[in-house]
Symmetry: C2
Amino acid sequence: MSTLVGAAIFGQSGGPTSVINASAYGVIRTALDNPNITKVYGAEHGIKGVLADRLFDMGQEDAHELELLKNTPSSALGSCRYKMADPDVDDTDYKRILEIFKKYNVRYFFYNGGNDSMDTCNKISKYMQKVGYACRVMGVPKTIDNDLFGTDHCPGFASAAKYIATSCMEVYQDARVYDTGMVCVIEIMGRHAGWLAGAAGLATEYGAGPDLIYLPETDFDMEQFLSDVERIYKEKGNCMVAVSEGIHYADGTFVSEAKTSATDGFGHAQLGGLAALLADAVKQRTGAKVRGIELSLLQRCGAHLASRTDIEESVMSGQAAVENAVEGITDKMVGFERSYENGKYICKTKLIDLADVANTEKKVPREWINQAGNGIEKPFIDYVLPLIQGEPVLPRQDSLPRFAKLKKVLAK
Amino acid sequence: MSTLVGAAIFGQSGGPTSVINASAYGVIRTALDNPNITKVYGAEHGIKGVLADRLFDMGQEDAHELELLKNTPSSALGSCRYKMADPDVDDTDYKRILEIFKKYNVRYFFYNGGNDSMDTCNKISKYMQKVGYACRVMGVPKTIDNDLFGTDHCPGFASAAKYIATSCMEVYQDARVYDTGMVCVIEIMGRHAGWLAGAAGLATEYGAGPDLIYLPETDFDMEQFLSDVERIYKEKGNCMVAVSEGIHYADGTFVSEAKTSATDGFGHAQLGGLAALLADAVKQRTGAKVRGIELSLLQRCGAHLASRTDIEESVMSGQAAVENAVEGITDKMVGFERSYENGKYICKTKLIDLADVANTEKKVPREWINQAGNGIEKPFIDYVLPLIQGEPVLPRQDSLPRFAKLKKVLAK
């Protein structure tokens, strides 16, 4: 182990989740407690905060408020979607980051995000190596989409999956109270991978969920969809459908973007999104009462329905990033490895090369989706079920959530 | 007290709530345990099940499953929206109901619903009196809309209010993570009364909620709305808006139904509903990134976020209906009376004439809404806060909800 003493920067990037702040807590708490780390800075809006010299001194935060981060959804420090240039083409940003690193004697950089964020991490790390600036760079995984390469699963996915499954079970009860029947279409996040839409299948497994589930891993066919719905509606008098926002036709066009004659032949923008579009198409085909429901932001910030397993693993991933970096590791993302002991799910951290994880997407295996492409198979359930276990102990004030209140004192 | 021995029918009517089954539990459990009630029947799809002779024998249900009703959202027996004719014009339905009542020796009729359901109750009661059939008829209140006359509040409202406030607090965290800003419009149920939309103000009171709230109790002005949003967006870089689905222009036209040039000048049906429509109008005016979120069915079936106070009061209202009927009372709806003892909220049941409650709507007092008509005042918060207190103890299986499974054995 080579000792490296200096400050650390932590940043959050990409779309927020219910537990990204739990990872933040893991990084910040562990870093504050480590003698080799002299200062812990939180970057405002991820790498943009580094470029803008907007760093919060996390040592000034109240310990209890930091702990509340474990149950505070979304990115408490602010996030960004910022694509770093190729440093061989334009190294302006990298020079600026080096300048800031030197200014604050930053020797540790922890970045919490998805594929793009790991790409950012990787580029910064390689640049620092090239210019000979000693700095350890570690990625902390985050994405409700669960599409990061090299890890069994991603922090944030399970809590969103649990929110989706629970909400589907509740809506299932509601959407069949009348004897007149209804077709209900639920739109779920996941542009390129169907992990979240597939999680709606948990509701079905537990007796109250979608009859049909469409993932972006297979091509969508409107005619087949309408005939699937029609068949079930005729059989049961009701039909519940879960669709990933990323479903697309065989030619790659997103269904949400395509103009169909069933919806708006004049090519006007569809204000209502995919759920409304499909519900309308079903209505025109079957005459059924329809309801399109978009889970929207709710599914990624529903911390009150988080998985305790997810929270604990998120904290663990942040902690592992710091501990490994202090031990001398750099250029890695923390990932998860699953095992079973006497049937009990065990999750341990592992390390994955940043270069491998950057910009690669992990999709749902085709064999976990049924032959017809309108449902999931048992291995999917077996995969996701252990991840959603356990209820969070929620800090509340007057029965409403009590989220972390950070002081956000700017570093000089 | 005049003793009346015979069977009881219980039915659920109108839109479901998170706790309507808790009221069902209160009625069914109390009735099953009462020696004067010989049989307890659950009507399938409310009064329609009576007309169709579709009655479930509740005595055959497992006691534990009945208890699970307290945390099972939506109408477990099925609901209906069925308007009874004026018996002086057409008494077909009433004759049929009398026939069924005689067939099963029904002497108690409990009906759980909102204004229309109380109208049904009232008409049946008056008809039975007219034809001299001894039967006690009691209404059990239910509506997330909280618009029933004569009662301090309605079972179902508080749980929906808590779902709305919690969700707004979570979305608030999510909707401001980027430095680019966003305007978020959240559409909330409540066609004629703004109780639910107003409940979003709880989130604001607790530090993370809508900047603007529009209720149907005041006239909506699109120009004023856009300038409100623009002002706040310019000031804060973000803006969160809660709107009741029932907001309307001064001429009474629902905003959701009006075609504005900002949305679709060709008069096509708006698939996406009000939130999408307003978000689009804001986008055109301000250029801001926008997001319209419709809480849809989620807000009325989110039993995992129910108020324990609401659950307990719902059970109590069902119990009170049975106990009062057995004592000789008829023709009443159970309502709630609020008092405070040493600052502690107390809720007791009271009885209201069915004739008074049928078809009357209780709106949010104008003085509980701010002068500008874009927010609520402190008395609204003081009113709603005690109602949402307490967390439910949720029956779960593998961290997913375990809802009641009724056998629904048809009576012969």
